[in-house]
Subunit: 341 residues, 3 copies
Amino acid sequence: MTKYLMNTWYQAGFADEVPAGGKLARTICEVPLVFYRRAEGSLTALVDRCPHRFAPLSAGRVDGDKIFCGYHGLGFGADGKCMYNPHGPIVSALAVRSFPVVERHTIIWVWLGDAERADPALISDLSYIDETPPQARISGYMPTAANYQLLSDNILDLSHADFLHPDTLGGINSTAKTTNRQEGDKVVVDWLAENCEPPPAFRVTAHGADRADVWTEVVWGAPAVMTLGVAAVPAGQPRTWHDEGYTLHNMVPETATSTHYFYCSTRRFRVDDEGFSQFLRGALEQAFVQEDKPMLESQQARIGNTDFWSLAPVLLKIDAASTRARRLLAQKIADEAAALT
Amino acid sequence: MTKYLMNTWYQAGFADEVPAGGKLARTICEVPLVFYRRAEGSLTALVDRCPHRFAPLSAGRVDGDKIFCGYHGLGFGADGKCMYNPHGPIVSALAVRSFPVVERHTIIWVWLGDAERADPALISDLSYIDETPPQARISGYMPTAANYQLLSDNILDLSHADFLHPDTLGGINSTAKTTNRQEGDKVVVDWLAENCEPPPAFRVTAHGADRADVWTEVVWGAPAVMTLGVAAVPAGQPRTWHDEGYTLHNMVPETATSTHYFYCSTRRFRVDDEGFSQFLRGALEQAFVQEDKPMLESQQARIGNTDFWSLAPVLLKIDAASTRARRLLAQKIADEAAALT
Amino acid sequence: MTKYLMNTWYQAGFADEVPAGGKLARTICEVPLVFYRRAEGSLTALVDRCPHRFAPLSAGRVDGDKIFCGYHGLGFGADGKCMYNPHGPIVSALAVRSFPVVERHTIIWVWLGDAERADPALISDLSYIDETPPQARISGYMPTAANYQLLSDNILDLSHADFLHPDTLGGINSTAKTTNRQEGDKVVVDWLAENCEPPPAFRVTAHGADRADVWTEVVWGAPAVMTLGVAAVPAGQPRTWHDEGYTLHNMVPETATSTHYFYCSTRRFRVDDEGFSQFLRGALEQAFVQEDKPMLESQQARIGNTDFWSLAPVLLKIDAASTRARRLLAQKIADEAAALT
């Protein structure tokens, strides 16, 4: 059985990681990929391994619509077919697999499965990113030496913030009212902490109030695309559209034990407040890089190469949403395997 | 068949490695362990892996008698049972294995096998440590990337000092009169170098004499607890209680190819001579860190993952004691395996 | 089936890597070897693992005709037999395998196979090295994390220079007239670029002419000893003996995925021009270390532990010589295996 969901869109990076004439090498689900921009600007995704002598194409150069192997000069077009062979005729075997790739919501999306099923409509709706002025977006990339589902668990159970991020984000979710549900293919979790002392990172959001109502929601879609919505208002006041912020947390498997963690924070308040942006960027980096990453990597170290479920993890109430998501994903992977037999 | 002797006391460290409120993570026989002190000062040893999501408990904090997982806040008591769950009821599965742990002779001892057989009387008698004033104790820890039995061999055959430590400890044991015997479960080796030129590290011990009688003895007990006694007196003079020094060499398997090497030197002479302590500390560190460790690790590199005996090592007379110890240990491990079937 | 050709001479290094009294540790075909000089200057090659406790002999010292293990002092002679045991009698098992070793063409050659077949006449004729004054020899050693046949491919297909070394060596071979043939056990490839613009590294060679005729030839012998001859003359002028330069490229397997790359450039022109030597040394180092090595190692990374042919590399015309050489070598290895059954 394959380990990964293949008929899905994976984030390969942020669009600005591939400037005009640039290229990006990134391995997803153990497939080495190279991304580059054609002359007119659109993106191409190819297997990052020349069919001649297996050099990475990403070690070569991009010129116009083609990427050229740096070893013997073979040039490949956006469909992966060789378009230039300085050493003789172009035979049909001179080709690498190309993958559907779409740029949307400032993100590069790639489809590793059956290309005929690569419908861009299946990309998660992250239009909150587009609706946010660039100065109020904080995006980042954190490679992490842990299985991507450990990273999903982390977001689907925000009670951990009280223990792992007590100085920035934590203090309210363990005791908040929480519910979770499945909506179609999505898993949705809500936390509502009423009349609480807002955590430091939410204090400004709550207009400086000492007591606040804080609402948090995570929407998960397979394989591990999550949107975390938050709003904090002075206790008892109604929440408005302007109080909300949404952050993408997207966990993309590089291998079974390493993950590309992409995030993008957006907000509808204080969008032009550069000082707040700086504060928020620092708070996120402390939480993710200083606190989450070491914990996730030490979890993986303790798990080793053992199957997660075979270790019989004790399930708590806080695991309801992450367990739901793990099962949904496992079912989707099993369905794909079944469809192939 | 298990690789390690389980029904035995392993040194986990020195007692002062776990101060009040502190904790220590150390893997022994491939079992990740965390050690911490309860409020009243006694030690606890638990599997260092939370049963919920497998985070290391050692990444959390100690408070009173409990250790709290740093990820989701579960608190565990000295018996390994969960005593605090901020997310719901405490179910019986919320527990980690706890191990008998004893503090004796300035050392933390842990028992990984059948807890009912964990008799503290089975701990090697190292009372020479307690009888030595702290200022005359030199203890150290040297993690080494080699199998622990290669490290035992090193101590059980001190002829190597003539070749590997010629400037500090060596020069006498290759030509000394040597005997070895089994006393119960112990292996005892003696060397007597009469009327010899004392090695630099023994010159002061021998009251500055140019010619000395040097007595050396190693007592080994399974799995690899060794006491090395030495005395050097001017040639022809009788050895007295005051001439003797005893050093613990304890080789604790972390994995099949890595070892926690703990040592503690004690002496009955010049106990208040801080200059001599400094000299001795330097001599030991040079011998162990600069000379033994690289040799042991390069031995392991040449052996790789191959079984030691399958390589048909040529046995010399100097290997008599170490071979005896290896066979005794192998028999004990085989006996444990037999008892389980 | 063994992975390596055993009945052949492998370069272990350059002769000056083992000065009088010196020693050299190098693993070839996964066999750890130690090389040292006897008192009268000739070389010895032994398995670098003491038969007693498997310490590397190279961690010991050389004295006269013997090498002494640094752990317990056993001394071994040039035939690998123990000649000194400070701990008792010398038994016949106290021996390590010794290997035929020959110093020729400034190079140390070792024979890992059947010693009776170790005929020095089988060493490739590299007399051009001896015929070159030392000041016109540029030799180097570049350990590379890639299979040695990937490194042979690199030399047997010099078209890559146009793409990988455009600023120094490249620009002419992709479009040159090329032929390859087998001569006995050798594979010979020729390139002739007539009336071309000489690459920077050939400009001086071509007496500064703007247009030149450049001749290049590679002679390969199993397992991977290659001589690359070059000459550049002003376009239309005849090539003379004095225009030629020959460079050894010798790819010696350390393991299946790591190679000792030895090279030695010689020339018959400007032999006393130290400035040109410096320029050439720089150009070679840029090409090999900065350009070839990263490409070769990234090829290996993409290939992983997979068999090269199982990945179905697309063969181009430029691969004719390297494919011929790979097949010749595979046949020789298969013949050795067949002879053993």
